[in-house]
Amino acid sequence: MAKIKLPVRSPRIDMTPMVDLFALLLTFFMLTTTFRPQEPVNVDTPSSISDKLNPTSNVMTLLISKDDKVYFNLDNGKDSSKHIRIEVLENVGKQYKLKFTPEQLSKFEKMASFGMPITKMGDWIDTKDEKVRHELEKNGIPMDSTDNQLAMWILFARKANPDAEAVIKGDQEADFKVVKKIMDIVQAAKINKFNLITNLEKVEVKLENK
């Protein structure tokens, strides 16, 4: 019996369309991307119907985690040549008689949210190990009445950038007591407007005809 011979096909596939598609998608993502800022904790925000966009600059963000820890972040403002973050860190450090090296300061400028007692700030900036950094951050910024470092941060952030808006990114499960306390601290710095970060959720409401 004769063997059935399958026609030999070339194993090569023409990949051009695939490459085309990839190139297209890649360009799209590269152009539209805004990097997701790194945050020390995952925060699950509540939802609301508000569709106002979060301001992108001149903000100080207060991150409130599920277990009521507070983290702080501020940006360099519209004009990054002012080095607002450096100024704030220097001023807060002065209050606690801490000095930071120029390297530490410039490194701090590029970092995002933080949450640790100011005494541990130096270690936090210097460490390269993600785990160590996480360990340092597990307690958030102290804000009890004897040592209210959060108030200090907010005060100096406000001083360095008077246009800064307060943005609160709280977790659904965070206690309102803590949020209220933070709002009071912010209000003490003469900011009465708060932006609460929420997820968009559409709701239809109709008035019943009676």
Binding site: M15, F176, Q187, L196
Partner: protein, 221 residues
């Protein structure tokens, strides 16, 4: 050896000198690999939707030499008390032990048939006006810009004289989500006036009594 040389020589002599024919297709696999990698990277790091924010403006904290705050008509005030475990109560009027009748706390919930229905019913007048204005614009009957629409909506809100004044009160056990939900409910039902205030002592007593009636154990967390 000699043979090879002869062969080469023969080759040269024979045909014309022709450049070697290259295949026109390039192996694109490495390029595809790289693109795949970059694509995945960008897809994962990108924050697609910009976060949305809800704006609230709180009044200045009262100062020592402030004039006494204006009296709020009792029939307009709706007090919402939020407790832990997603419990919510409301009462109408002012709870003042020296001015009976003492209002009764009513239990409700965060659903659309709960607190929303109550607020919507009390805010019917304003809600209707705003709805009408909105629908006129969307239907194209009224041609005004978005800015002037928001301005007119705000005017309607500030002119409102019959709608409820909502006092939002959260106990220590309330979650952040509850408060955001209630403020959101204000936006949904177009309530013009609301404020976040603290519970007073008498209200705490009322709440305790109500919870005892409902058989909710207060001590558990």
């Amino acid at each position: 050896m000699a043979e090879i040389i002869a062969n080469e020589g023969g080759g040269k002599k024979k045909g014309k000198k022709r450049p070697k024919k290259h295949s026109t297709s390039i192996d694109m696999t490495p390029m595809v690999d790289l693109m795949c990698l970059l694509l995945t990277f960008f897809m994962l790091t990108t924050a697609f939707s910009k976060p949305k924010v809800m704006e609230i403006v709180l009044p200045d904290p009262p100062k020592i030499n402030d004039p006494t705050p204006p009296k709020i008509p009792g029939w307009r005030t709706v007090n919402i008390i939020m407790d832990g475990k997603d419990k919510i109560y409301y009462y109408v009027g002012i709870a003042d032990p020296t001015h009976p009748p003492i209002p009764v706390l009513i239990e409700t919930d965060y659903s659309k048939d709960g607190i929303r229905k109550i607020l919507l019913n009390r805010n019917k007048n304003l809600f209707k006006q705003m709805e009408d204005l909105n629908s006129e614009v969307t239907k194209g009957k009224l041609n005004i810009s978005r800015d002037s629409l928001t301005k007119r909506l705000r005017e309607l809100k500030s002119k409102d004289a019959v709608g409820p004044i909502v006092l939002i009160k959260a106990t220590d056990k309330a979650k952040y989500k509850n408060v955001v939900d209630i403020i959101d409910e204000m936006a949904i039902t177009n309530v013009a006036r609301y404020a976040i205030v603290d519970l007073n002592l008498f209200e705490k007593k009322l709440l305790k009594k109500k919870k005892r009636e409902l058989g909710i154990n207060d001590s558990d967390k």
